[in-house]
């Protein structure tokens, strides 16, 4: 999946790292900087997390900073909220996004609301890291993308990096943010490719998307692991003389509306790509925004390339479910042939 474009925006300096390494470095550097930061979650200690993102951190920071918790997601988020009130800045890990459901009450009814409820007296500077999305053929509940319900819940920010450089910079921004930030890690990209990542800490601002690949005929809007899929489709489209602009949203709340509206005003055509089910997925919001702000520029209906309105299937049928460059390319063409 490591096309040239995938690393085109990376800085030239810095060690070439996987996303896992970039995340691990961000965690270590921030914990070094601020003793109020804690890590909490299932297996984040000696095991280093089931994907090894927290490897080495308990050895370095001790078991008063890195807490292996009981197996209880509501407990993790709920006690983390208490720790926030008590002056800490916990970074929690939910082992897979498929296991966030038991914590939804704490996340939506409290973390997202405490600043507002207390009229600013209390805040929840919490990060919730979760591997999300498909592509690794695991059992049920290990491939889910539940970002739409996060987007519909006021009070949360949701950030989704698409490469190692952004992963480090966005995670540092999330940690320094004074409100709860959900940080979704596209697990299929954890080790999919390497990219130069500067040694020193840096931030990538939350709420600013980026033009991942400039183009002029069609805008493809994506985030997380779908940026690579969009880019692969754009590569193929290029061979057919179709110039595709790929927008990487980077965060869905706050949403950088300007960046894709500007692009659609230019191209007149758009495709939005995500893995989550179609109905009421985040793609619908993108379509609604384009409808509201750029209707007269549209030369064709905005296409949605998404998962189906079905349960994410087992490994054997996974490829039939996941959006892939073929599907994206077909959608690009539909916008051109409309």
């Amino acid at each position: 999946m490591a096309s040239d474009a995938a690393t085109a925006l990376a800085p030239s300096s810095g060690e070439r790292m996987t996303m896992v390494q970039a995340l691990n470095q961000a965690l270590a550097q921030e914990m070094e900087r601020d003793p109020a930061i804690l890590l909490m979650g299932e297996d984040v200690g000696p095991d280093g997390g089931v994907f090894r993102v927290t490897a080495g951190l308990i050895e370095r920071f001790g078991d008063q900073r890195v807490l292996d918790t009981p197996l209880a997601e509501s407990g993790i988020i709920g006690t983390a909220i208490g720790l926030c009130i008590g002056g800490f800045r916990p970074i929690t890990e939910i082992q897979f996004m498929g296991f966030i459901y038991p914590a939804i009450n704490q996340l939506f009814a409290h973390a997202a609301r405490l600043r507002n409820r207390s009229r600013g007296r209390l805040s929840v500077p919490l990060v919730v890291r979760m591997p999300y999305g498909g592509g690794i053929r695991p059992p049920e509940h290990h491939s889910e993308s539940y970002e739409a319900m996060l987007a519909n819940t006021p009070g949360l920010k949701t950030v989704i990096p698409a490469d190692p450089y952004d992963a480090k910079g966005l995670l540092i921004s999330a940690i320094r943010d004074d409100d709860p930030v959900i940080f979704l890690e596209p697990k299929r990209l954890y080790r999919a490719f390497r990219q130069a990542v500067p040694e020193e800490p840096y931030t990538v601002p939350i709420g600013k998307g980026r033009v991942y690949r400039p183009g002029k005929d069609v805008t493809v809007i994506a985030y997380g692991s779908m940026v690579q899929v969009a880019n692969a489709a754009a590569d193929r489209a290029a061979k057919q003389e179709i110039s595709v602009e790929v927008i990487d949203l980077r965060s869905i709340v706050p949403l950088d509306v300007e960046i894709f509206i500007e692009s659609v005003r230019k191209t007149g055509r758009a495709v939005v790509v995500h893995e989550a089910p179609r109905t009421c997925g985040f793609g619908a919001e993108i379509v609604a925004q384009i409808n509201e702000r750029a209707l007269l520029n549209l030369l064709a209906p905005v296409e949605r390339v998404t998962g189906f309105d079905t349960i994410f299937p087992g490994a054997v049928l996974e490829d039939h479910y996941m959006p892939n460059p073929d599907r994206v390319l077909a959608a690009i063409k539909r916008t051109l042939e409309f």
Partner: protein, 359 residues
């Protein structure tokens, strides 16, 4: 021996002042006369503020509200032990504790009006706002207790909940986390017999809530929650234990909700009048009043003076309540994030425009 007894647990209940107003001399705490009288006064204050709320609600000056009547001892006995460094994590019926810790009651009344400024707890009072999703706040109390432990501070987080709350998964996770991390948390459960219309006997097959502590590897006990002296002693010892880092503690205060669940509820639909009457005989205030009168520490005149004093305070709070200007509509937006994102700025503008148009 192939059938091994691994361990055991005994559930104990403490009572010092019995319903007839007689104390157990051996268990009697070493409290001076002033403190003893203070306990009665704080219960009377709670009841007065509570009765005012009922009046205000009937007159339509505040909205739905849940009375604490009957639970004054359970709240006053604990409150006397609290220190400034402690954190209070209330549920929805702890207005007595909050009042005792200095929350201006016009804020409580305004909460019942649906004015969210009421949840901006004043500086210096370590308390979280009322938490409505049942049991969920206990995890915050566990987390706060973990924070105190991590910082080695000699203070406690007190998590409040009712008997109904013990059925929720969050009750379990909170006590379990607290046990594992040695959180400096006192879980303080007021078992008032009912969760809206569901009696305690249908809430769990366990005989007591106190025994649930055993499931989490720490201590728990029952206390006669209508006995302010027993509540005082039990919570004093539990708070000492918790503050000194010896681990969390669970107290079940056995008491009774004398009124309906809230003013929106009608308890006569589901519970026998005889039960309510039986509990009226165990009223926490008259019990303490009898005791203090017999000791020559309290008489009708003192009571009249106190009532007059508190009533004046109550009226002042009502005035403060009614002097509160309406919050601006933009409050809906202004506390959502540390910094408002662009979409919310846009929506906020829309709201302002609409409000100007007279809506």
């Amino acid at each position: 021996m192939p059938i091994i007894e691994v361990n055991h647990f005994t559930t104990r209940r403490l009572q010092i002042l019995d319903p007839s107003g007689v104390v157990d001399e051996q268990l009697m705490p070493d409290l001076g006369d002033e403190a003893l009288v203070g306990l009665l006064c704080s219960m009377l204050r709670m009841r007065t503020f509570d009765e005012k709320a009922l009046n205000l609600q009937r007159q339509g000056r505040i909205g739905t509200f849940g009375s604490l009547r009957g639970q004054e001892a359970a709240q006053a006995g604990l409150t006397l032990n609290l220190i400034d460094e402690d954190w209070l994590v209330p549920s929805i019926r702890e207005q007595g504790v909050l009042e005792g810790r200095g929350l201006p009651m016009h804020l409580y009344y305004s909460f019942c009006k649906g004015d969210e400024r009421a949840s901006q707890i004043p500086d210096g009072l370590n308390a979280t706002p009322q938490s409505i999703p049942i049991a969920s706040q206990l995890l915050h109390a566990a987390g706060l207790g973990m924070a105190l432990k991590l910082r080695n501070e000699e203070a406690a987080a007190v998590g409040f909940a009712g008997d109904g709350a013990t059925s929720e998964g969050d009750f379990h996770e909170a006590l379990n986390f607290a046990g594992v991390f040695g959180a400096q948390t006192l879980f303080y459960i007021q078992n008032n017999g009912w969760a809206i219309s569901v009696p305690f006997s249908q809430q769990t097959a366990a005989e007591t809530i106190a025994q649930k502590a055993f499931a989490y590897g720490f201590e728990g006990m029952q206390v006669d929650g209508n006995d302010v002296l027993a509540v005082y002693v039990a919570s004093r010892d539990a708070l000492d234990h918790v503050r000194s880092g010896k681990g969390p503690y669970l107290i079940e205060a056995l008491t009774y909700r004398m009124e309906s669940h809230t003013t929106a509820d009608d308890h006569t639909r589901y519970r026998p009048a005889a039960e309510v009457e039986a509990w009226r005989a165990r009223d926490p205030i008259s019990r303490m009043r009898t005791f203090l009168s017999r000791q020559g520490l309290w008489d009708e005149q003192q009571e009249a003076e106190l009532v007059a004093k508190v009533s004046a305070e109550v009226e002042a709070e009502v005035e403060a309540l009614e002097a509160m200007p309406r919050p601006p509509a933009t409050d809906i937006f202004d506390y959502m994030f540390a910094e408002l994102p662009a979409t919310l700025i846009e929506q906020r503008q829309q709201l302002i425009a609409e409000s100007r148009n007279g809506k």
